[in-house]
């Protein structure tokens, strides 16, 4: 073999004591608690086993280009966060505020295009007829009562990007943990049934550690590979998801909403889509929607619906004249405890959203994720003090036991069956949630067998569009290499978006102005369509419709074949992964994506 043809030498392994994947709220809670604990006098004698003579070596690898480029505007009761940070002053963190006013709004359909069931259309008519009595204003009914399980009245509004940045600075200034941005982790190192570290995507380096902490979110590469290798515990499944998409908006001078205002909305733009509006300090608001996996639509689109959502009269009277400041999207794993994987094994532990900590009843995930990180850090400190190894038994004794004994577990159990009703339909869904929420999970609707999947185009649009109209739209979409959703929504009566170049902008402008999306040149495409024939056989191409950044498009050269992928538009939300009806998408770890710190 010619010397130049020799494959490059694999880089020498790196050694650490604890290697972590993903820097989200769970990892922030873990690293803050761990680094504080390591500074306590009783930990003075604890040394690194990887590099004797030094304190334990803790490294964290984050996929995104900065630790603040996470996506989530969040309203949270922050019980666990406040327990960790009792003196937390929201004034220290940009865009953070205490919740001052909370409302639950039922939004009527002001355009007549929303695909509402008969009972909801009737509700709209009753609301309009009795508007004076019910206090219906701007096509919205303020519900007189917010169920206690939804209440966030004693909590905070955060920008998660800013919060992560704030915590990250404290962690790194301790000098006891390194957080590496733009450093995606490709896979776990699994040897003889134990996790021995991770392999980095950049150059294939192995990072070997006694403990691997996995907190890489709902679509993280490491968590998914652990699930594949070890399987899921009996009865556990990850089958409920949502895309959360939001805008951060500079409010116009005319806006009278107070800082700390929180609105939860139901009913519009489609009945299955829940929405929110939070008002941050400095005349800034976050407005967004959640598009769930159990929505029937085979042409689900988050961006177009988000534009209609913010134009609802109840929101638009405050937002009109505003300016898009930031935009982003992420997947949410909404299976909650039903999707809980093995929380610990030999050499590894899982925290945060990828560990099934999100509570789908209370609509809360950040505080729960933080708590899992704190609990693991306390467990790790205990094991370090004991000099005990990070075996499955020891981690279950310390970490899992803490988790099972906490309010997180109690509330997760209460929420476990809360979403069952949505598998039957919208009304049973609301009834089921109320039932579970008001009885602490003791009562709930049974779950229907099998997943609720999107309907076919013909079934979904039956009674609204003819087959010929659908076929013409499909032919046009293929000819113009564009998604179907805009064409079909137009046909169903959704009004065109009156672009103003400030807040109502094209999807591509949202990527540039709001998400500021980037893709480093040296990495290959991270979304791969494994088997082209499966794409050819697929009618829906849901990956194209749901794509949060229009990064997956109908291929102009081969409209019926595998879609084209443009990684310079990908926000790494991972929605393509769980929307693909035939699991034909490989979603690899890569840097890049959103470059906005205000989400």
């Amino acid at each position: 073999m010619h010397p130049e043809a020799q494959p490059p030498e694999p880089p020498a392994p790196l050694d650490a004591d604890i290697v972590c994947t993903g820097f989200g709220p769970a990892m922030a809670g873990f690293l803050l608690t761990l680094t504080r604990g390591l500074q306590q006098p009783e930990m003075a004698g604890v040394e690194s086993r990887a590099i004797p003579g030094l304190p334990p070596q803790v490294v964290c690898y984050e996929r995104a280009d900065d630790i603040s480029f996470g996506v989530s505007g969040v309203v949270t009761r922050a019980r666990a966060i406040r327990a960790s940070l009792p003196d937390l002053d929201p004034a220290e963190i940009p865009l953070a505020a205490r919740v001052r006013q909370e409302k639950l709004l039922y939004l009527l359909d002001p355009v007549g295009a929303s695909r509402r069931p008969a009972w909801m259309r009737l509700a709209d008519q009753v609301c309009r007829a009795l508007s004076a009595v019910l206090g219906v204003k701007d096509e919205a009914l303020e519900l007189p009562w917010i169920p206690p399980f939804l209440h966030k009245g004693d909590g905070f509004i955060f920008s998660l990007g800013q919060f992560n940045q704030w915590v990250g600075q404290q962690v790194m200034m301790s000098g006891l943990a390194q957080v590496w941005p733009a450093a995606p982790v490709a896979s776990p190192l699994i040897e003889d049934g134990r996790v021995a570290g991770v392999r980095l995507a950049a150059d294939g380096s192995e990072v070997r550690a006694a403990l691997t902490v996995v907190g890489d979110g709902p679509v993280g590469a490491v968590g998914r590979q652990l699930d594949q290798h070890f399987g899921m515990p009996a009865g556990r499944r990850r089958d409920e998801w949502a895309v959360g998409m939001k805008m951060v908006i500079d409010l116009p001078e005319s806006c009278t909403l107070e800082e700390g205002t929180v609105w939860h909305t139901i009913g519009y733009p489609e009945p299955e889509i829940f929405g929110f509006l939070y008002v941050h300090p400095g005349r800034i608001a976050s407005a967004g929607i959640f598009v769930p996996s159990w929505m029937d639509s085979p042409v689900r689109t988050s961006y177009r619906y988000l534009q209609h959502f913010i134009q609802h009269p109840r929101l638009w009277r405050h937002l009109e004249g505003g300016r898009l400041r930031s935009w982003g999207a992420k997947s949410l794993l909404e299976s909650g405890r039903r999707g809980e994987p093995y929380l610990a094994g030999d050499g590894y532990a899982r925290i945060g959203e990828c560990s099934g900590s999100t509570n789908v009843l209370t609509g809360s995930g950040v505080d729960e994720a933080w708590l899992t990180g704190v609990q693991l850090a306390e467990a790790v400190l205990e094991l370090l003090r004991e000099g005990a190894p990070f075996t499955r038994e020891n981690l279950e004794r310390t970490y899992v036991a803490r988790r099972r004994a906490s309010w997180l577990e109690r509330e997760s159990v209460a929420a476990e069956r809360a979403r069952n009703g949505f598998q039957w339909g919208l009304l049973p869904g609301f009834v089921g949630m109320a039932l579970a929420g008001l009885t602490g999970g003791r009562l709930a609707l049974p779950r229907r067998g099998g997943d609720r999947r999107p309907k076919t185009l013909a079934d979904y649009y039956a009674g609204r569009l003819s087959r010929a109209e659908i076929e013409r739209a499909k032919a046009r979409a293929e000819a113009e290499a564009r998604p179907l959703h805009d064409l079909l929504m137009d046909l169903c009566g959704w009004p065109p978006i009156p672009y103003d170049g400030r807040l109502l902008v094209s999807h591509q402008d949202a990527l540039l102005m709001g998400g500021k999306v980037q893709a480093p040149a040296e990495f290959p495409d991270h979304v791969i369509f494994r088997r082209p024939q499966l794409c050819r056989d697929c009618e829906a191409h849901l990956c194209v419709e749901i794509c949060s950044g229009e990064a997956i498009r109908v291929s102009a050269e081969d409209p019926a074949g595998p879609p084209a992928f443009d990684r310079e538009k990908c926000v790494h939300c991972g929605a393509c992964l769980w929307n693909c009806p035939v699991s034909n998408i490989e979603f690899c770890a890569a840097p890049g994506g959103l470059h906005s710190a205000e989400n």
Binding site: L14, V179, S205, A521, E522, H595, A597
Partner: protein, 266 residues
């Protein structure tokens, strides 16, 4: 022969962020400055990549970054920069944001360089950005060089070649879109880089981990730098931005260019 390459470079807010100047005559700043994601100043970054390339070509060379920036922010940015190439760091804890007086910055940087115990001026190449993404006074590097007594100064450098006899062949940008090529007999010399010709190196986690063994102690002992503003600021605003979007299909590139040129003229 190995070189001692010192790269002066500060931080700049990630160029994609929304910046809002907060005007305070005593010390103007950016809104939420410490919470804005930051990058190593892109102009200085070009200088750093050139320094790394040069050091690789001349074994035994050392690259040392001297940076004046808020310490906490600098530590965060170093986690990314450290993955690019090996270097040492001298950190000065001071304000960022572009409202710091250029002369005060130059004095602090020159002081830190002059205090380096192992400085060999006969092998010293002083690198930095010709401009800065924060404010772009464009004079810091000359002032640092003057204070260090380095007379060979080159601005807007695009290329450096070390000749067989050890002399330096330097290509600078000059007025009128032209290049000027100079020959410098030997170090010490100051080169304030324009864009250079090297791409951003990919991240190497191994390099990052190795770097951190020297960077973290340097960050821990970052000394505060006294850089009180000497200038009085009367106002601070962002350049106005006009954005118009029009979606077109099948329009020839020449026609698009003509339309954009017409729009700019208006």
């Amino acid at each position: 022969m190995p070189f001692q390459i010192i790269v002066c470079g500060g931080l700049a807010p990630d160029p994609l962020q929304t910046l809002e100047p907060v005007f305070d005559p005593a010390r103007p700043s950016l809104r939420n400055e410490l919470m804005l994601p930051a990058v190593f100043d892109p102009w200085a970054a070009h200088a750093l990549y050139e320094a790394g390339h040069l050091a690789k070509q001349h074994p035994g060379s050392v690259v040392r970054v001297v940076s004046l920036a808020p310490k906490a922010k600098l530590q965060q940015v170093m986690m990314t920069v450290a993955q690019k190439l090996p270097f040492e760091l001298t950190a000065l804890d001071g304000p960022g944001g572009g409202f710091v007086d250029a002369a005060a910055v130059a004095a602090a940087l020159a002081g830190a360089i002059a205090a380096m115990p192992d400085l060999d001026r006969s092998r010293l190449l002083l690198f930095g950005g010709w401009e800065s993404a924060t404010r772009g006074a464009g004079v810091v590097m000359q002032r640092v060089a003057e204070r260090l007594g380095i007379r060979e100064q080159f601005l807007a450098v695009d290329e450096l070649t070390v000749e067989a006899d050890g002399s330096l062949r330097i290509k600078e940008r000059i007025e009128g879109g032209l290049h000027q090529i100079s020959r410098c007999a030997s170090p010490p010399a100051m080169l304030a880089w324009a864009t250079g010709s090297l791409p951003e190196p990919p991240n190497h986690p191994q390099t990052g981990m190795a770097n951190m063994r020297v960077l973290l102690p340097a960050l821990q002992k970052a000394a505060p730098a006294a850089v009180e503003p000497a200038a009085e600021y009367l106002s601070a605003t962002l350049p106005s931005v006009v954005r118009q979007t029009r979606v077109v299909k099948d329009m020839p590139a020449a026609e698009i260019a003509r339309e954009i040129a017409e729009w700019i003229r208006q």
